[in-house]
């Protein structure tokens, strides 16, 4: 066994153990498992292990082996983004009327503008002249606007809120936010990459438009065939599952070649898949297990290895972190809450919706890694934003329990059932 393969397998084993143990501990304090897995990744990086035991850290995660870990985590992300796209159903927004439209729009615009405003302060302190202010400000805006749709869905399911009016509204708004956020991010990636791109800007822009049109009006027309095959036998053959994987990979490769990012292709492939409940559940079940159990923890660990919370930069870094966290919460939680209240929701439900929309979770980590890869944010800015993602995700469950206790929700359900009876 070569040294690199030995290292990789050892790394995977250590990461999986850390993810499961910390995830279990976080579940004990009523946090979603994924929150613990994200923290486990950070703990394995320079923020804790590298700081406490630099020798062990270097031996376990030598710089030369990072390429393999990154490649594996990227494969995991491609499948995960397909799963996220698959689970999204923007048509869910229909039927929630004014509240949903207003909340979803304000929950993007408010944090986006506040993110741009914060960029005025942070750009001369944490960026450099290799990045334009426009790219930096738009990225900050997009990173502040995102909602972690998968984590949100998991929190709502665990609390039994998924079928409540507020829960359904939160999922619908998060779906719209994610689609908008990814579109904005695609634009930023093109904007930043065009200056250093191998191919001309018109190829990237024209190719991207052509790609989206082909996906929506050509590829999408053939996808119901998978659904029909599933309906006939109650399952898909291994060959058909392999075809779906190949389609995901081809779509990812197309967007990477165009200069957007391979994750957009995987996400769009998932988003245009047929949305019948049974078919979606079947595919989610097929693809989710390996991704969630094996590959996502690798991505969290890779993110953790790039994150240096509190390492270097002195007290100023903590000040910048505090500013970013306050701005992120004000924009997302505050914006969504006031918009929902304005649309006629009671204060308690409006505040709960704001708290849920403020969950950034791993979608934020995905976006931040893209930002660091294309060089639009610096390593310190990356660490600050990772900290913000962890804080806003961690605060969701306790804050929701405080504002909208489970007993209150259950009492409302009981009352509703009595009225129906």
């Amino acid at each position: 066994m070569t040294l690199n393969l030995f290292h990789l397998i050892l790394q995977v084993a250590v990461i999986l153990v850390a993810a499961r143990v910390v995830g279990f501990l976080f579940q004990k304090i009523n946090q979603p498992q994924v929150m613990g897995e994200m923290v486990a990744g950070i703990l394995l990086g320079p923020s804790l292990l590298g700081w406490l035991a630099p020798g062990i850290s270097t031996a376990l995660f030598p710089a030369a082996s990072m390429g393999y870990l990154n490649a594996l985590s990227q494969v995991g992300l491609v499948v995960f983004m397909f799963v996220v796209g698959l689970a999204l159903n923007p048509t869910e927004l229909h039927g929630y009327g004014h509240a949903a439209v207003l909340t979803s729009h304000v929950s993007i615009v408010a944090p986006f503008c506040l993110g741009g405003l914060t960029a005025l302060y942070l750009y001369p302190r944490l960026s450099d002249d290799g990045v334009t202010f426009t790219g930096f400000a738009l990225f900050m805006g997009a990173a502040m606007s995102i909602t972690a749709f998968p984590v949100l869905a998991r929190i709502l399911t665990e609390r039994g809120l998924v079928r409540s009016r507020m829960g359904s509204l939160a999922i619908a708004c998060a779906a719209v936010d994610d689609i908008t956020g990814w579109c904005i991010l695609a634009y930023i990636v093109v904007l930043v990459r065009v200056t250093h791109a191998v191919r001309p800007a018109w190829v990237t822009i024209g190719g991207s438009i052509a790609y989206v049109l082909i996906m929506l009006f050509v590829v999408r027309r053939f996808l119901p065939a998978f659904e029909r095959a599933y309906s006939k036998r109650g399952r898909l053959s291994d060959n058909l599952l392999a075809v779906i994987v190949v389609l995901v990979l081809a779509s990812a490769l197309a967007t990477e070649w165009l200069g957007i990012h391979l994750l957009f292709g995987a996400f769009l492939m998932g988003a245009i898949m047929p949305k019948t409940q049974e078919f979606t559940h079947y595919l989610l079940h097929k693809f989710e297990s390996v991704t969630v159990v094996l590959l996502l923890p690798l991505f969290f660990a890779f993110t953790g290895l790039r994150t240096r919370i509190g390492v270097g930069g002195g007290g100023a870094i903590w000040l910048y972190s505090a500013i970013v966290i306050v701005v992120a919460i004000t924009g997302k939680l505050g914006g969504s809450m006031f918009a929902a209240r304005l649309a006629g929701m009671p204060w308690r439900e409006a505040a709960s919706l704001g708290i849920l929309m403020n969950t950034r979770g791993l979608m934020e980590l995905v976006i931040l890694n893209i930002g660091l890869d294309i060089g639009v944010i610096s390593p310190a800015m990356f660490s600050i934003m990772v900290l913000m993602a962890l804080v806003t995700t961690f605060m969701t469950t306790p804050l929701l329990e405080w504002v909208y206790p489970a007993r209150l929700f259950m009492a409302q359900v009981d009352e509703l059932q009595k009225n129906v009876a």
Partner: protein, 121 residues
């Protein structure tokens, strides 16, 4: 939209620190021949700089990945054993200055950036 356009317009006037992040190929001056301790085992690209605004971490490609914190102030890059002046546009940036290795006289160097910062590590 108007608010966002206002922010983008206001940001255009802001001057950020000069970008030095990335890998650098270093050429040492003629005085380096007598100083083998610091330069022995140095492979190209000899410097890797990870930058966050005015703060940077300079890592020497000497097999031990010796690194130190540096400060960027205008066109000056200053660290414990390195002093350099930053010149050129972001795409054609160069460093010119001197490094001081233990037990050696300062060694003049000129460095050319190979790749802009990517990934920060």
């Amino acid at each position: 939209m108007l608010g966002l356009l206002g922010i983008l317009e206001a940001g255009r006037g802001i001057a950020p620190p000069l970008a030095v992040g990335g890998e650098w190929v270093v050429e040492f001056g003629s005085g380096s021949a007598g100083c083998s301790s610091g330069l022995a085992g140095l492979r190209q690209p000899a410097l890797n700089i990870s930058q966050s605004g005015t703060q940077a971490i300079v890592t020497l490609n000497d097999g031990h990945a010796t690194s130190l914190n540096a400060l960027i102030d205008g066109p000056d890059l200053t660290a414990k054993w390195l002093r350099a002046t930053i010149a050129g546009k972001p795409g054609e940036r160069t460093l010119q200055g001197e490094m001081t290795f233990a037990g050696c006289a300062p060694v003049a160097f000129r460095a050319v950036r190979q790749a802009a910062r990517k990934g920060g590590e």
